[in-house]
């Protein structure tokens, strides 16, 4: 059987909406519905390993949550795990989004919903430099060590200063170069941006969204 391919926009959208739906819908209904809905999606997409992993996580957390009702010791944690449990189904979808697509592809896919061009370009830059800077912070620490001003908790503020200052000033210098590189690549062209990785919105994608919406509305009517 061919596994289902779902447009990542659908998954992202569900994740944005789902966890706050208990404002309208009964909490335990939502919890059950989301768990079933997301597990079903993972099954259809052939992600059984992920599903098993999350099932164990879910069971463990649910166990602690239930323990909270009978064992005094767990009472305080119970509420916290009740909150965390809500997020497990979304975590399942998020793990698929992150493992299957690169951030640039996702951003590009998201252009289907007409994001402002400025925001797309800026986020592209952020996505590129986030890993770069993470790497470069290691270089800075190394160079602090070699300069004999290694990071120390004895002088936290001074150490923090040495750590952050080179990177901030580099950003200011980089801004000009990156702008130049962007302008010669047409970031200011007054046409609608297209996307190489844009994924077509298929029938199955709409179907998944409809089922999700039906589940929420159903829960709302049922609770009322």
């Amino acid at each position: 059987m061919k596994w289902l391919n779902i447009n990542p926009i659908v998954l992202i959208l569900i994740n944005i909406l789902a966890p706050s739906m208990y404002i309208f819908v009964n909490g335990s209904y939502l919890q059950v519905f989301l768990a079933i809905f997301c597990s079903a999606l993972l099954c259809l997409m052939g992600q059984f390993k992920k599903l098993a992993y999350f099932a164990i996580l879910y069971a463990a957390m649910y166990g602690i949550y239930l323990l909270g009702f009978s064992v005094e010791f767990f009472r305080f944690m119970s509420g916290f795990f009740a909150v965390l449990l809500q997020f497990v189904p979304c975590l399942m979808l998020a793990s698929i989004v992150v493992s299957k697509y690169s951030s640039t592809q996702l951003l590009s896919a998201l252009e289907g919903i007409h994001l402002p061009r400025v925001l797309v370009v800026a986020t592209t830059v952020t996505l590129k430099y986030f890993p770069t800077f993470r790497r470069e912070f290691k270089y800075i620490l190394e160079s602090m060590r070699l300069r004999g001003i290694a990071f120390t908790w004895k002088k936290p503020i001074e150490s923090f200063r040495y750590f952050i200052v080179p990177q901030l000033f580099r950003c200011a210098a980089l801004a000009e170069e990156v702008t130049a590189a962007g302008l010669v690549k047409g970031i200011d062209a007054p046409v609608r941006r297209t996307s190489y990785f844009e994924l077509k919105f298929r029938f199955t994608d709409s179907l998944v969204l409809c089922i999700f919406a039906a589940g929420i509305i159903g829960g709302y009517i049922w609770a009322a």
Partner: protein
């Protein structure tokens, strides 16, 4: 063949600096290879920025005169229109890419210009063929070698079908082999009728393919209409054949105290059974291709990494100046930066005067130019009083006159300390080296003193490095 670019009385003055260009006139025909050269601060990058529209779009100042590109007045063209005609390849590999994935990068301009998916597919296939990108698709840009990055940058600059290419100091971040490879590529594109404009102060890789040289001096332009005319002019054009330079030899008697050493050291698959001693008063240059293990060697000396086997013998942590100065400047001013090394105002003052940086003593280190930053670091090395000083590619991104200054200063450091330099800059090596260590695939292949009789050995190493690049290309 018609006129592609025509400048008449083109002038530009910066808001906050005297540099700029004055009444520049020239014409570039379609299909020409044009070199823009001159010393740093002469205005060649200003001229280039006028051509690709960054002046006046980004840089503020006063622009006068006229510039025509492909028959249109540049004033009437917006950035995005101008860049449909001109493709730009910048110098800094860190800032010229917008994404972290090669495929995303290649399609980025086309997305901006609103191409359809089908158009992009056609174009990507074409570029893949023209620039041998098959192995480079869908990879993390960070994982590419400098040569591969150059190819990608080149392909990106042609995504819109640009017929004119502008290069900003391509040799600054390329080793000898890759620069020669770029030269061959430019020759090929010239045959395809493309117009190529290169602004660079090193041009050995363009020997025999230049149609026109624009020589900038203090904002003024002198046009040479052929390579011969340029070569026979008074300007120092020895850079066409880097092997012909004559720097003399140090011929020091090397009997300094041994201050650091590796003994039978191996590290992963990178360094294999290397033994190397460093002596006071000696400048040792490590050469070898990317991936030969040069930087790893430096990291072993500075104890950033531990060897799998063998012994490292260093009395104290060496002063290690890494490639990019930007990570290594922590001070609030140039003066303050040096006090972090040694709080001795009179020595710092003396040092700044020697380095010609005294007038910048209150400036923020990040306000300095690339060459000045590099020299500030040399100042730190002078003050640190350490026995061992290590430089990783100290001349990358520097122009010839900055390189020569840095050479002189490193030579002076080498009088007192043991200096180890990693470099692929031939001219620089000829200026500073007492001893050459050739690293290949993690082994020391050769280790000799640089003198008249051994010069041939050094030249052969460079020919070998270039040949490796050629083999790489035929594999593509």
């Amino acid at each position: 063949m018609g006129s592609m670019i025509k400048a008449k009385d083109l002038s530009f003055t910066y808001e906050d600096s005297d540099e700029g260009i004055k009444d520049v006139d020239f014409e570039i025909e379609a299909g020409e290879v044009v070199l823009i050269t001159g010393n740093s601060g002469c205005g060649k990058s200003t001229l280039l920025r006028c051509l690709n529209g960054l002046i006046p779009a980004v840089t503020e100042g006063e622009l006068k005169g006229s510039l025509n590109v492909a028959g249109k007045d540049a004033k009437d063209l917006k950035m995005h229109e101008l860049n449909m005609e001109l493709g730009s390849v910048f110098q800094n590999p860190r800032s010229q890419f917008f994404t972290d994935n090669t495929t995303s990068e290649l399609v980025f301009p086309m997305e901006n210009y609103g191409f359809s998916k089908e158009e992009m597919d056609v174009k990507v296939a074409q570029l893949k063929k023209d620039y041998m990108l098959d192995d480079l698709m869908d990879r993390n840009i960070f994982s590419l070698s400098s040569g591969e990055r150059q190819m990608l940058a080149l392909a990106c600059a042609r995504t819109m079908g640009q017929r004119v290419l502008l290069f900003d100091e391509p040799s600054a971040n390329l080793d000898y082999g890759n620069a020669m490879r770029l030269g061959r590529l430019i020759e090929r594109m010239k045959k395809q009728g493309l117009t190529i404009i290169v602004a660079d102060h090193r041009f050995y890789y363009l020997d025999g393919i230049i149609d026109k040289a624009l020589f900038m001096d203090n904002g003024n332009l002198k046009v040479f209409n052929s390579e011969e005319e340029f070569k026979s002019s008074g300007y120092n054009t020895r850079s066409f054949d880097i092997f012909s330079i004559d720097t003399g030899f140090h011929n020091k008697s090397l009997s300094g105290e041994r201050v650091a050493g590796l003994n039978g050291v191996s590290y992963k698959d990178i360094i294999k059974d290397v033994s190397l001693d460093l002596h006071k008063g000696e400048i040792t240059v490590i050469v070898g291709n990317n991936g030969a293990g040069k930087t790893t060697l430096a990291k072993l000396f500075s104890k950033s990494i531990k060897p799998d086997s063998g012994k490292i013998d260093v009395k104290e942590l060496p002063f290690f100046i890494m490639q990019d100065p930007d990570y290594q400047l922590f001070g609030t001013s140039v003066f303050n930066e040096l006090t972090l090394v040694k709080n001795d105002p009179s020595r710092i003052e003396e040092c700044l005067k020697y380095l010609n940086l005294y007038e910048y003593k209150d400036a923020h280190p990040f306000e300095l130019s690339g060459g000045q930053k590099q020299r500030l670091q040399i100042g730190m090395a002078m003050l640190c009083d350490k026995d061992v000083i290590i430089f990783d590619e100290p001349t990358s991104g520097l122009d010839v006159s900055s390189m020569e200054r840095v050479s002189g200063e490193i030579c002076r450091l080498g009088e007192k300390s043991a200096v180890m330099v990693i470099s692929h800059d031939y001219e620089f090596i000829r200026n500073v080296a007492d001893r050459i260590v050739y690293l290949k695939d993690g082994y020391i292949k050769e280790d000799f003193l640089l003198n008249e009789e051994n010069l041939e050995k050094l030249n052969n190493i460079f020919h070998e490095l270039e040949k490796e690049r050629k083999d790489e290309k035929t594999q593509d």
